[in-house]
Amino acid sequence: MTPEAARLPLTVIGGYLGAGKTTLLNRLLANPDGQRIAVLVNDFGEIDIDGRLLNSTTDNVLRLANGCICCSVADNFAETLETVRGFADRIDRVVVEVSGVGQPHKVAQWGHSPGFSPDGIVVLVDPLSILSRATDPYIGDTVISQVTRADLVVISRTDIANVDELEATEAWLDNVTDATVLRGPLPTAVLLGPVSRPLGVDYCPPSKEPTPGSGTAEPQHADHVTLSRRLDGPISRPSIETWTRARPSGVIRAKGLIRVDDRPNDRTVLQICGSSTMVSVDGPWDDGEDAVVAIALPGTPRAALVKWLNLLG
């Protein structure tokens, strides 16, 4: 990997004990939706991998037949990231599990390490226990702080919780956090968003309706709306800010590779995860790759998304 190669998006997954982190990580490894994901866990013991899928194992790296890898986070996180960087040309993104009492927004700071870019703080919430935990004298402030600093909160165990519990959880979350709140489970491509470069979208002139996602880089999901658009020509920095603020409420994830007029020689990466937007520079500009992809909740009006995507430029 050359120093100019794209940075690996790094997403952190947090949430208190029982919030479903292990279930989610096992699902990501089993169904990565075509993405090659490096999953960083505290304890291999929690990872449930079919032996037939296992390609090789070293002391702290498991390599799977589907291209994913799983690393245990040793006591030295910087060292673990160095190990992951060694796989940079063979993986698309990194997902880091945060311990149940960990502070996801602090772990997310590692996303600024050389070779990586922060790609969202996802916090899982168990609707059966969150309300009692939020008032627990030992850990109430911890669980509140976790959801407060999240970009995307995903409510788990939606198959077990009843409607009252789900609605009470949503009402509580609405009070304590600005994060986007969704009911899980979410398909991998929706939860983590589009990843690879190029984004693999078909050309779509700004005046016409964008095409649905190509199905190559980001698999289709019947319920969620995926739209993409190719850009043409540099974009002004203020217009990026205006555009991200104008996004329709159903947008969960978006990613753009943009040429910004004040940095025409650099590749600017725009990432939206729930409530947050991250803009970073990750290398020199390559012609012809500027595009944006957005993924929205089921039921989000297509016309609103089209209108929004066409605003950029």
Partner: protein, 534 residues
């Protein structure tokens, strides 16, 4: 206090204690008068320190308080910005290779409120050499422009721990580990070099210089790593001046779960030698009080900051401890705040109820805000306390005015309460957090004086005799080594602290000033490094 004028030593162990003629008559041998005018005490035991106590001195010290390195060199305190700059310039001159980074430690801007120490001061030292200055708490660093250019830290760096100045440039301060790690190779050399053989040997020198004959290394070494195990067993031969109780840091290093880790530690325990003891684990509940990360009971921090952080979920503590407890391993757990102690005691209550072990000696480390009620629970559960007495000196004034206020500060590190309730007591330095040195720790517990001259809770003072017991037998008991060390008793290892004056004779306010000659370890004399003032 029983005493004598001579000890007889054979095969590295105490043979007898008494008078010179009597011992010579009965046991023969040669009489060595090297220590004729010295005071011998049982070897001091530091029950909470870390491996980088020695290795940190490979780097340039720029702290506020004067300290002495393992080689005996006095490093004067850098009490002004200019003193820091001068110290760094001198270090820069001594480095031949222009590509070698200048690494320094101990910076504490808390002593210069309102002023800013940033890249500009460091750029005045060098515009070409990378400079990395770790702060005294090891959670922050300040670096120069040359380092930032080489590592690509600039206006585009968007990270919480990289503050920018008005011109949009990073100030040079890197806050917390994710940001410090942006310093790349320089960061790795700083935190990697303290793991070297040389670093271990310097730890031994540092111990000898302050009269310490046994240390506990609390979770600084990964004991699942065969190379680390061999390093310690190999280096700690009969010429090495100290014994070490090694604690595996199980909080972060149990990749295959606690049951597997416990089994590995039971196996490792069999490889213990006279000089290196295995079979111990360390866990952590919370952070530090001065860092605002310890878990406090109501009413929380005086400064109004949020309550601290949990490093283990309270409801998981019992299940994490249980495998080690059931395996008969010794568990020492870091808990600074009183709420952290509550959760820990709840867990030990469960663990002891499920698998009662009459003589476990599990210990709470730091115990800084532990209340009388909590000490009574500790007594009932058979637990020991290792209190952080040095805090009254190093952060006492800050605790009185910033972190918890004067009333709770007066009750911190409650050694008197622990002893009155009957909880086995030791006291520690947590070096290199505060300097290694049991005489200073004892001085702090006996006097409880702050730098501003306040007495921080006169009612929690202990006597010199109690303090001396705590840093010898008290610590040996908690390490399950009281059968081998902690007192001058026939059959135990012949380990002594050798002093120039008797702690029981001097003014208690001068305890910390008693010169240390060195140590005897297994009957071998180890004179301290000659003290130099340069």
């Amino acid at each position: 206090m029983p005493s004598g004028s001579a000890i007889a030593v054979r095969h590295g162990r105490f043979l007898a204690v008494g008078e010179v003629d009597e011992l010579a008559d009965v046991y023969g041998g040669t009489v060595d008068y090297t220590l004729a005018d010295k005071v011998l005490l049982p070897g001091f035991v530091e029950a909470h320190s870390h491996k980088d106590t020695g290795g940190i001195w490979q780097f340039t010290y720029v702290g506020f308080e004067a300290r002495r390195g393992p080689n005996g060199r006095l490093w004067r305190g850098c009490t002004t910005f200019d003193a820091v700059i001068d110290r760094l310039r001198e270090a820069d001159r001594l480095l031949d290779d222009p590509d070698e980074p200048l690494l320094a430690w101990g910076l504490d801007p808390i002593f210069w409120p309102g002023e800013r120490f940033d890249r500009r001061q460091l750029d005045a030292v060098s515009t070409t050499r990378r400079i990395f200055v770790a702060h005294s708490n090891m959670h922050l660093a300040t670096v120069n422009s040359a380092l930032m250019e080489q590592e690509g830290i600039g206006p585009d760096t968007v990270a919480e721990g990289v503050p920018k100045d008005d011109s949009g440039l990073p100030t040079g301060e890197l806050q917390e580990f994710p940001a410090m790690a942006l310093a790349g190779q320089t960061f790795r050399s700083f935190f990697g070099r303290t793991q070297s053989d040389e670093s271990v040997l310097m730890f031994g020198q540092a111990a000898r210089n302050v009269g310490v004959t046994t240390v506990a290394d609390l979770g600084t070494s990964n004991l699942l790593d065969e190379a680390v195990i061999r390093q310690w067993i190999g280096l700690a031969d009969e010429t090495f001046p100290m014994r070490t109780a090694m604690f595996h840091g199980a909080l972060m290093s149990a990749p295959d779960g606690d049951e597997a880790c416990a089994a590995a530690m039971v196996d490792l325990r069999r490889r213990s030698t006279d000089r290196v003891r295995f079979g111990n684990v360390k866990l952590l509940m919370d952070g530090s009080i001065q860092g605002g990360t310890a878990r406090l009971r109501w009413p929380g921090y005086l400064h109004g900051g949020p309550n601290g952080i949990w490093l283990i979920a309270p409801e998981q503590v019992a299940e994490r401890i249980s495998p080690y407890h059931r395996a008969g391993l010794l568990v020492h757990t870091h808990a600074n705040g009183d709420q952290a102690v509550d959760a820990l005691l709840d867990a030990f209550d469960q663990v002891q109820t499920a698998n009662p072990l009459p003589d476990h000696r599990h210990t709470i480390q730091h115990c800084q805000m532990t209340t009388p009620g909590q000490y009574r629970r500790m007594k009932a559960l058979g637990m020991c306390a290792n209190v952080f007495s040095n805090h009254t000196w190093f952060w006492g004034d800050q605790h009185r005015t910033i972190t918890v206020g004067p009333d709770r500060a007066a009750r911190m590190n409650a050694a008197r309460t622990a002893l009155d309730i009957g909880v086995p007591l030791s006291m520690h330095s947590d070096s290199p957090v505060t300097p290694l040195g049991p005489l200073h720790v004892a001085w702090a517990a006996v006097n409880r004086q702050t730098p501003k001259g306040e007495i921080m809770g006169e009612h929690e003072r202990i006597t010199v005799a109690e303090a001396m017991h705590a840093v010898t037998m008290g610590a040996a008991w908690q390490l399950r080594m009281d059968d081998a060390i902690g007192s001058i008793t026939p059959q135990k290892f012949a380990d002594c602290t050798v002093l120039e004056a008797d702690p029981f004779e001097v003014d208690p306010l001068e305890l910390r000033d008693i010169p240390v000659w060195g140590t005897m370890s297994g009957g071998v004399l180890h004179e301290g490094s000659p003290q130099t003032d340069a």
